[in-house]
């Protein structure tokens, strides 16, 4: 069964992990809040697993989901 992803961000080769000196790739990640999980695809370092959350995502979608959950 295909995974349901709430959100996808493709790094398009424009992000680099400074620790591993390699490009971030679109990878599977999960947001968790108040015991709820949301599968997403975000830029992830293939070596160390650093997950990058862009500013627009944090201030947009992530914030609105947080607020909605806080009032559940």
């Amino acid at each position: 069964m295909a995974d349901k992803n709430y959100y996808t961000v493709d790094p398009e080769g424009k992000l680099m992990c400074m620790k591993c000196r390699c490009k971030l790739q679109k990878g599977k990640a999960k947001f968790m809040y108040l015991d709820n999980g949301f599968p997403v695809e975000l830029p992830v370092c293939p070596r160390c697993g650093f997950v990058y959350v862009p500013e627009e995502l944090a201030l947009g979608k992530v914030l609105s989901v947080e607020k909605a959950l806080e009032d559940k």
């Binding site: 400074m18 990878g27 806080e70």
Partner: protein, 756 residues
């Protein structure tokens, strides 16, 4: 002390805020929905207030529809009614009450009747009325309205003579109009008969029988009837005596309802609901209302003008004063019910979380409300309840709570005056004073040390109000204990509070002796540093001083000594609104907090003088010239609009400075080993996003240990992150020679993990 987000949307716990009875008791205090005085006085339940509103707006058709709802014969009622509504009109307390009958007549004269017949099906049971008087005439109209087939036996020979006999005062025109209405009604008239004889002959033909009072008494001499329901039970005869026009109309209404009960073979006294005039508990302020005289109604314009005099009696004392209630457009009664329900639901959206957390807990409503409705208590109980069931999200209050922990942790200071083994006093300026006006606090402390005998200790910290306001009763309890222990170590001296809210909070904790610094200043007199200012200022009373007349008066005397010409504003003293800081509104709902501040400032164009540092700060942020009383007393200015980081540095800086200056202790500030600079955009964003410089520094320290960062090729900037407590902070930076230049910072509360 630590705060952890422990909430789960999958944990279903619930606890009532209070019992249903208590809910109802609280709700019943609000008289907003009580009927207007005129409406309450009318036994026919005319909505006079709505009628006046319709006429004032020029809607004569609507006014007529309202009037026709209560009577089948408006010409008779509007000219004959004794009008208890008029004598009850609130305006009568000032000048002349509204000429309500004139308005009714204007509705009749200029309003158009809606077309279309009743959609109700005709009833099976037929009714007969024997003999004519005002009561039986009205009853005929009421029974037709209820769709009973009605037969009417009378000695008169036509409608006009019937109307004239029953209502002899009517003008020819009104009598003809009423006869016209009568003819339109679906009534089988038996003209020119002898009602008594007809009764004995025909009564068996009908299910319901009614009679005019004289007819009934001729039929049954000595007859007794139950006037409450207008039925003579023995004879199953609907009748009764009435006194006057209104009583006839009202008697007919009661009788028609009895007809319904009899038709269903029920006792006429059964389930009748509330009838007649009622007592109203409404409160309506006449403040600002000028006495006025009746405007003679001669045409449409004068009718509209007379109707426009009506003040549409209602109570909104609380809403007029409180920006929060205005924001949510809800009266305390409704709000309480919705909050109660919100707290009681287990799953689903908690729509009232925001309003629960947006109230300033300031108590203004309980002073303004004629019945003392206490919305603050309701919201406070709701917060504590949500905390106890794990339903309270941490997000809205976390920043403030962390700030309290900072005040009572890193920035806390408790010391006896140098050279004193025992101190008679301890100065407690409050966390906001130290955050916003460290120089003022320092000057005040030095002055107290110099001029008071017996030694003055110093305690820099938070009184715990923040934890209490957030409903975090455990954390608050720990804070109370902590302060108790620290005060105990100082020998439990008398507390000199710098802030009225601290004073109130500390007193509520059972601390024995707490006075405001203003009281001490009155005893000692002003110091030489006092800046005399001969200028008019608006005084804003702190909500922490509500109910504390001594404090309010003392502040006014000191201000006068300073040369200030104090102009009291509307809503001053006990009625003062909150500046937007109280109850943590500033953190939970910036929009509402802003509206509160604006509403405070609307009261006067003058510079504002206040005696709570939070008020001073919020007014300054709105661009108003704003001063704290102590700034004038000590000639030591507060900072102008310090941002959230500056407010922390100020507290820490004050501690550091005083430790060194007075106790000769050097407070080591940690050497980071690198420098951090911020672009102006970054500073602005951080203040807006509630991200502290200390948060950014911790993230950068982590970066130096882990080397974890991402390079954004588009912007050429690096991005790094670290989870601190319940929040992940991200910092966008470039490298500089000595450290970092921060371009932006953002945060989220969700955690993010890899998934395979």
């Amino acid at each position: 002390m630590k705060i952890e987000e422990r909430r789960s949307t999958h944990v279903y716990r619930q606890k009532r805020m209070f019992t249903k009875e208590e809910l109802e008791e609280r709700e019943s205090l609000c008289v907003h929905e009580q009927p207007a005085y005129c409406n309450a006085a009318c036994p026919l339940k005319l909505d006079v207030k709505a009628l006046a509103a319709a006429l004032a707006a020029g809607d004569f058709d609507k006014a007529l529809a309202l009037y026709e709802k209560i009577t089948p014969f408006p010409h008779i009622l509007s000219t004959g009614c004794e009008a208890p509504c008029e004598s009850s009109c609130k305006l009568g307390q000032l000048g002349e009450g509204i000429a309500i009958r004139e308005l009714e007549r204007a509705a009749l004269a200029y309003g158009a009747k809606p077309k279309g017949a009743s959609l109700l099906r005709k009833k099976q049971q037929s009714a007969a009325i024997f003999g004519a008087d005002l009561f039986s005439l009205f009853l005929a109209g009421e029974l037709v309205k209820k769709r009973y087939p009605v037969s009417f036996y009378c000695s008169q020979k036509d409608g006009l003579s019937l109307v004239k006999d029953c209502a002899p005062w009517l003008s020819q025109e009104a009598a003809e109009a009423t006869a016209g209405l009568l003819n339109e009604l679906d009534i089988a008239f038996k003209w020119g008969c002898e009602p008594e004889a007809a009764y004995w002959e025909d009564r068996e033909k009908y299910a319901l029988i009614a009679a005019a009072w004289d007819t009934a008494r001729t039929l049954y001499p000595g007859l007794e009837t139950d006037e409450a329901v207008m039925v003579c039970r023995e004879q199953r005869l609907i009748t009764g005596s009435t006194r006057g026009v209104l009583d006839s109309a009202f008697g007919a209404k009661r009788a028609a309802l009895s007809a319904d009960r009899l038709a269903q073979h029920l006792d006429p006294g059964n389930t009748r609901g509330e009838e007649g005039s009622v007592a109203t508990r409404l409160y309506t302020s006449l403040e600002g209302v000028k006495p006025s005289k009746r405007i003679p109604v001669k045409d449409m314009d004068s009718a509209m003008a007379e109707a426009a005099r009506c003040i549409q009696c209602h109570c909104d004392e609380c809403i007029k004063g409180c920006a929060y209630l205005r924001h949510y457009k809800k009266f305390p009664r409704i709000l309480t019910r919705e909050i109660y329900n919100n707290v009681s639901i287990i799953m689903g959206d908690h729509m009232m979380n925001k309003p629960i957390n947006a109230c300033a807990l300031c108590g203004q409503c309980s002073v303004l409300c004629p019945n003392g409705y206490d919305m603050a208590e309701v919201c406070h109980i709701a917060r504590q309840n949500m905390v106890s069931t794990g339903k309270m999200p941490l997000a809205p209050h976390e920043f403030a709570l962390m700030d309290m922990l900072f005040s009572n942790g890193e920035a806390f200071l408790s010391r006896k005056q140098p050279g004193f083994k025992k101190c008679s006093y301890v100065f407690f300026p409050g966390c906001q004073a130290a955050a916003i006006a460290p120089a003022t606090v320092r000057a005040a402390y030095l002055d107290l040390c110099r001029r008071l005998d017996g030694g003055v200790a110093l305690m820099l910290g938070c009184c715990g109000a923040i934890g209490d306001w957030a409903g975090r009763y455990e954390l608050y309890g720990e804070t109370v204990d902590f302060l108790g222990k620290e005060l105990g170590e100082l020998g439990s001296p008398e507390i000199i509070a710098g802030c009225p809210s601290c004073k109130k909070q500390l007193l509520s904790q059972g601390r024995e002796s707490v006075r405001g610094i203003w009281e001490i200043l009155e005893e000692l007199g002003l110091p030489e540093t006092a800046e005399l200012r001969q200028r008019p200022m608006a005084l804003h009373d702190a909500c922490g001083a509500r109910g504390d007349a001594k404090t309010q008066e003392s502040i006014r005397r000191i201000a006068a000594k300073l040369g200030c010409e104090i102009r009291d504003t509307p809503y001053s003293g006990d009625q003062s609104p909150c500046c937007g800081y109280g109850g943590l509104t500033q953190y939970t709902n910036r929009e509402v907090a802003r509206e509160m501040t604006e509403s405070c400032l609307e009261r006067s164009p003058l510079p504002y003088l206040s005696y709570c540092m939070a008020c001073r700060d919020r007014f300054a942020r709105e661009g108003r010239e704003s001063l704290h009383l102590l700034e004038l007393v000590y000639g030591a200015a507060a900072d102008n609009c310090p941002d959230i980081s500056a407010k922390r540095y100020n507290r820490l800086g004050l501690k550091q400075q005083l430790l060194k200056e007075l106790w000769g202790e050097e407070l080591k500030m940690e050497d980071l080993g690198f420098e951090v600079e911020y672009t102006p955009e970054a500073e602005e964003r951080m203040d807006d996003r509630m991200i502290l410089r200390s948060d950014v520094i911790q993230v950068l320290q982590h970066l130096r240990e882990s080397g974890e960062a991402v390079l954004e090729e588009d912007s050429g900037l690096f991005v790094t992150r670290e989870r601190l407590g319940n929040v992940t902070f991200w910092v966008k930076y470039s490298e500089t020679e000595k450290g970092y230049l921060v371009h932006s910072a953002y945060s989220h509360r969700m955690t993010v993990v890899n998934r395979l």
